[in-house]
Each structure stands twice: as structure tokens, then as C-alpha cells.
Amino acid sequence: MPLTRNQEDKQNSKFADKVTAVIKEKMSQKKIKSANYLTAKQSRAISRDNRKSMRAYEKRNNRKNVPESEYETTMRDPGNVVEFDDLHTYFFTDTGTVKAVDGVTFDIPVGKTVGVVGESGCGKSVTCLSLMQIVQRPQGQIVSGAIRLNLGDKAVDIAKMPIEKMQTVRGNKMAMIFQEPMTSLNPVFRIGPQIDEVIALHNPEMTKEQVKARTLEMLETVSIANGEGVYRMYQHELSGGMRQRVMISMALACSPSLIIADEPTTALDVTIQAQILDLLRNLKNKINSSIMLITHDLGVIAEMADYVVVMYAGRVVEKGTVGEVFKNPSHPYTIGLMASKPAVNKAVERLYSIPGNVPNPIDMPNYCYFRDRCEKCLEKCSGVYPGEKRLSPTHFVSCYLYEDLQEEK
């Protein structure tokens, strides 16, 4: 029986509906897929913006003859070596702006060790690279905020300091020990001249013999027995632990007031790690400097640090003294981090694991960055990023869980 026109229409429209449904489905799939996809237009716009902003920052950094008054500041507390104040360091990449450090505030007191913990990509390293002003330029820039460095009689703001002036501070007032001793020593120079260079640069009045004597003295301080021999060796002739000792002696050569140790023991074995940590602790007391210790190993932090700063996705989520943070971890991320590490002599049937992954650093949301992985998530958490709450005079946490606590007090 032939179909009436009406029926035909109906069928046709049904078919059309089906087709549109399929297309819609395809489209929505495409949309999901395109989360990591940029159109040529978007990509051009990003590049344009990046060029513009990078040029502006570079112009500011490369100025010559900047009056000292411009970057001189006063410390909030003269008992601190370094104060980070709402530091923002961004990377302008071709896929968007990565807010590697997004509002970091903490202090490093004189003679104390501050440990910074967090997963890879949380901005630990970029924080200390900003402090040394050795962020990869021009993509990486300190966008806003202040890093105040105490030079004794005066204080400077490193975020505003021009690059040529930085050289008087780097290696002299603060020095850095890098993660990979293998790649951070120059393979074509002998060990001795590499340490000599630091000393000679910052002490132009010293003669060559004095410089060498100082280098040998430094090698001895880091318990390298055969100083004269090591002075003439190349880096490949030394073991990992020895190389890290050389790095430490280089960092300590000018008796800096701050040592930045970026994962100093991650590449080393446990027994060598124990040696190096022991050495760092003794040397710190000897020259009375502060250490900023960056690591992802909570055990090392507990052992070495006086204060702990826990970072997540470019922000500080919790900070306090070692006792406070380890005894009373308050931010859900800190709690998760502590629970997920198996401890010796503390048997658990199953390890706690924080669900999900660290979020994509491009286009971070406005709400708490940890919301999607948090088990204690509240309704409020979808609102603006939580402010810092004070649990004790030294213990701060950024989480809505503790907002009411404050009000009760």
C-alpha cells in the first residue's frame, strides 16, 4: 500500500530528526575532543598577546641605569631573609598563559630551614627560580608581586630589580643547589676553576692564590678528603654524591645568607642522601644561613625543615611549622599527601590515594583548584578561591572547611 503524503512527510521528518540527532552527537563529541584543540585564529591571537606582553616585560627588565630607589624596599619583619609577597610568575606559551606561580606568600626567617613540598608542576621550582631571577625568559615573567631580599643594611625587591644588578646578588647573597649534579656542572672545565669563578667574581680584590686556597677550603668543608685531587678532576670522574658535594661547596663559597636547595637529594641513593642531608644541616649552622629546601619527599622535610609550605597548582594551600603541619595537617590536599606515602613500620592494608590528577595549568578555574579531587568538598568551594585562614599564629590554610572556625573565635 502506497504511503499517503502525510505519512511520507512524517517518515521524512523522522529521518531528518535522526540525522540531526546523529550530527548533534558527532558535534558534541567533536567539542569534547576540541578541549585541547586551538583553531588557527585562536592560536594567532594568543601569540599576538604573548608577544605584546613579553615585549613590555622585557623592556622593563633590560633597562640600564635604574636608580636604586626604584627597587629598594623595607622588610616587613627584619628577622626574615626573604619575603615572598603575592608573587605571580606566568609563562606565556603558544597554547595559553600558564600561571606557574599564582599568588605565593611566605617568609624565610634568618637561620631557619623552610621546606616547600608539592607534586611536580605545582610551582615549587619556579618559585625559587623567580627568587634568583633565572626563570626562562622571555616566556617566563614575574608578572606581579614582590620578593624582598634582606641584604643586612638594606632590602631590595627582586621582582623589580634590573638584570644587570642581579649579578651582584646571585651566588653572593643567595646561592642555589640544583637537582641534577650531573647536568649542572660544566663537563669541559675542571672542578676547581668552576668554584674559583664564583669566588673571584664576587671578591675582585682577592689574588689567584687566595681564590684557590678558598676553593680548597670549601672542598674540605664539604668533607671531600682529597681536595687537591678533586680540584683537578672533571665532573665525570666523580660519583653522584661527590658531585653534589661540589655543587654545595660552590653554593657556599661566598657564605650566602640564603641557600636554595632544589631537590638536592632526589637523584641520589638513600645512604648518600643521608650523608648529604647531614652535611647541609651542619653547614647551615656553621655559616648561620637559611635554607629554602624544595622537595617532594615528606620524610626529608620532616627531618630538615623548621617551617613547611605546601603548594598545589601554583598556590600555597597550607603553611606552618613542621610540628603543626605534620601533627595537624589541615588542608585536604596535605592530608591526602601524608596518607598516600607508605611509612616504614606503619602497616596499612591499602594506601590512600588522592583521586584524579593535577589540573591542566592553562585556564585555571576561579574556584578552589583542589575542588575536583577533594572529598570534603563543600558547596562554597564552587565560589571564589578561598582566602588564607589562620589556625594558629604560624599555621595558615586556604580552605573553606576552616572558615567557620575563625568566626567562632
Partner: protein, 362 residues
């Protein structure tokens, strides 16, 4: 599909019965006897052999079916070489590796190929152990297809199941490894190993390249899979806390030798060998009030090409005696199932076992 029953009836049961000797039902799935793996050092114009790196030097241990053995030690002590020699990725120098009663190093190429699905390995670095040119689905399916473990028409579903059990989604199949994070990649490596329905898996530092929170996910996954599929692991790691969490028995290695070997509880409660003691005391404890009575070892590991005479540890040992410098200590059973090689315990074992007396008075 990937459940117990399916495993039972499709697995190489029939094939194996023919080839395996009677002791197939023995408790121990793997037995390593006096294994030695040396690597030649070549020098000069004609590249003649001037010496050997003794990566694995006289190692013996057994692993029970369904348990996990942890292997710890510093870098360069031969942990990884043991793992690779068990799989015959390296040829041994002497000794035996008995898997289910079969000496792996005596198999012909064809037999070895048939054996391959039963022993798998998860490599350390998930960034370099996945082919960047293959989509994930193909990485996992390749070996399954090659070994014809699953009929062609079921392969797709089978891979989906394996991926699901390792926490991967079916749509990940068409993606390439570079699109994944470290933790996800390690899941792919695990899925690739498990797709062959192995009985024994060598995990060569599977979590050391990962972040703490991701480490926990992978360790939990490995434990779940072990229960589900009744797997046996050889877990190689330098992270003692991880090894303690996952293992049933532990072997502590130093310079190519197992210096102490035994049950996890025995070893952690009562470490005997001075090296084990130093190693355990060097673990940083995440507790600021923990007491610090650390034994700090002087110096670093001697070169395995030219190891010290006598006890290999005597150059760094704080209990070193005259005897240690010349006499090689033998492995002795101090407690039931707890072995160590150290001269300090010569008398202990003498008292307990009079029989061994003659062999000990060297």
C-alpha cells in the same frame, strides 16, 4: 571476559602439561640458583676483554606462588640486572633460573617465545618504554595478537576489559602515549603486561618516576590486580617504604649479592646485616619528632668491576673485623627463613646448627 574461568580454560594449560615436569605444582614459582651475570669490559684496538663487571654475583632465592618479593638496594647493585636475567633479556654467566621447574636459559628460541606470555615485565620509565608511534590500543593488543591468546573477533572486547581493569577508558585506545600523564602511562605499561595473562611479573621500579599521590594509585592498582589474577611479583625498588608496603619477602642487595633475605616482618623488625641496618636507618621518616639514631655510611659503593676482597661491604662497615677483609661470608639461616651473609653471625648459626660447623670454619 577477563575473569578466572576464562583464564583457566584458555590459558596454555594443555600446552604446558606436556612440557613442564612433574613439579609444576610446587609452591615456588621461581627459583634462582647461584645466578651470575657478568658484563665484559672491552679495551684496546682489538676490543679484547680486560675484566668483568660483576653485576649479579652468586644470587639464590625462591619466590612462592601468589606472593611478592621485594628487591632493594642502592643504584648499581644489580637489582635490575637480576630482573632482566630472569626474563632472559640478558644472558646469564652461570647458575640457573627455574620458572615453574623449567630452566629459562636452556630453552630454545621457539620454546622461549611460548614461555614469554607467562613472565612479563613492567619497566621503570613509562616515558621511554612506550612506542611513541603506536596508539595505546595497539600497544596493548600487539603481543596478544602475536601470541594468539584470544580469537580475532573477541580481541577488541578483551583489550577493553584489560584497560578497564587497569583504570583506562575505552576511548583511550586511539590516543598516543604522549597524550597521557606519567601515572596513566604506567597504567598502559601495566595493561600491556597483564594483557598476556602472565603468572609472574617483574616490576622494575614501577613507581619511582611518579609523583607521591600517583604512586599510591599505582601501588593500589598493582595490589588489586595481584589479588584478582593471582599474580606473583618481583618488585624491584630503591624506595624501602614502598617495598615494605607491597612485599611479603624482601631481599637486600649490595654490589651484586643478596646480603640479607627473609620475611618482611623479620627483616624490618630485626635487620641483621650491618648494611641493612644502615639502609633502614637512612630512610627519612615523615614525623618531625622521630628519634634520629642514624648510621651514616662512609663513602660510596665500590666499583662492581673491581669489588673488595672478602666481604664486599667491609670497606664501609662499622663492625668490620680482620676476618672480613679476606674471607667471603656464606649465607646462613639465622631464624627460620631469614638468611644473611655476614661474619658477625658465624657463632649464632653454629650454636643452632651443629651440622654446618665444618663448612663454616673456613
Amino acid at each position: 571476559m577477563f575473569d578466572e574461568n576464562y583464564r583457566e580454560d584458555t590459558l596454555h594449560e594443555d600446552k604446558l602439561d606436556a612440557s613442564a615436569p612433574e613439579n609444576r605444582q610446587s609452591d615456588y614459582i621461581l627459583e634462582v640458583k647461584k645466578l651470575k651475570t657478568y658484563f665484559p669490559i672491552k679495551d684496546g684496538v682489538i676490543q679484547h676483554v680486560v675484566g668483568h663487571v660483576k653485576a649479579v654475583d652468586d644470587v639464590s632465592f625462591k619466590i612462592k606462588r601468589g606472593t611478592t618479593m621485594g628487591l632493594v638496594g642502592e643504584s648499581g647493585c644489580g637489582k635490575t640486572t637480576i630482573g632482566r636475567t630472569i626474563l632472559r633479556l640478558n644472558e646469564k654467566t652461570s647458575g640457573e633460573v627455574l620458572f615453574d621447574g623449567i630452566d629459562i636459559h636452556k630453552l630454545s628460541r621457539k620454546e622461549l617465545r611460548e614461555m614469554r606470555p607467562r613472565i612479563q615485565i613492567i619497566f621503570q620509565d613509562p616515558y621511554s618504554s612506550l612506542s611513541p608511534r603506536l596508539p595505546v590500543g595497539e600497544i596493548i593488543a600487539e603481543a596478544v595478537r602475536e601470541h594468539k591468546l584470544v580469537p580475532k573477533e573477541e580481541l577488541n572486547d578483551y583489550i577493553d576489559d584489560i584497560m578497564a581493569s587497569c583504570g583506562l577508558r575505552p576511548y583511550h585506545k586511539d590516543r598516543y602515549p604522549h597524550e597521557f600523564s606519567g601515572g596513566q602511562r604506567q597504567r598502559i605499561c601495566i595493561a600491556r603486561a597483564l594483557a598476556l595473562k602472565p603468572e609472574f611479573v617483574v616490576c622494575d621500579e614501577p613507581v619511582s618516576a611518579l609523583d607521591v599521590s600517583i604512586q599510591a594509585q599505582i601501588i593500589n592498582l598493582l595490589k588489586d590486580l595481584q589479588k584478582k589474577y593471582d599474580l606473583t611479583y618481583l618488585f624491584i625498588s630503591h624506595d624501602l617504604s614502598v617495598v615494605e608496603h607491597i612485599s611479603d619477602t624482601i631481599g637486600v642487595m649490595y654490589l651484586g649479592e643478596i646480603v640479607e633475605y627473609g620475611d618482611k616482618k623479620d627483616i624490618f623488625a630485626n635487620p641483621l646485616h650491618p648494611y641493612t641496618k644502615a639502609l633502614f636507618s637512612a630512610i627519612p621518616v615523615p614525623d618531625p619528632d622521630a628519634k634520629m639514631n642514624r648510621i651514616i655510611l662512609e663513602g660510596s659503593i665500590p666499583s662492581p668491576a673491581n669489588p673488595p676482597k672478602g666481604c664486599k661491604f667491609h670497606t664501609r662497615c662499622s663492625y668490620c673485623m680482620e676476618m672480613c677483609k679476606s674471607v667471603i661470608p656464606e649465607q646462613k639461616e639465622i631464624e627460620p627463613g631469614h638468611f644473611t651473609s655476614c661474619h658477625l653471625f658465624n657463632d649464632v648459626s653454629l650454636e643452632k646448627e651443629g651440622k654446618k660447623e665444618s663448612s663454616l670454619n673456613v
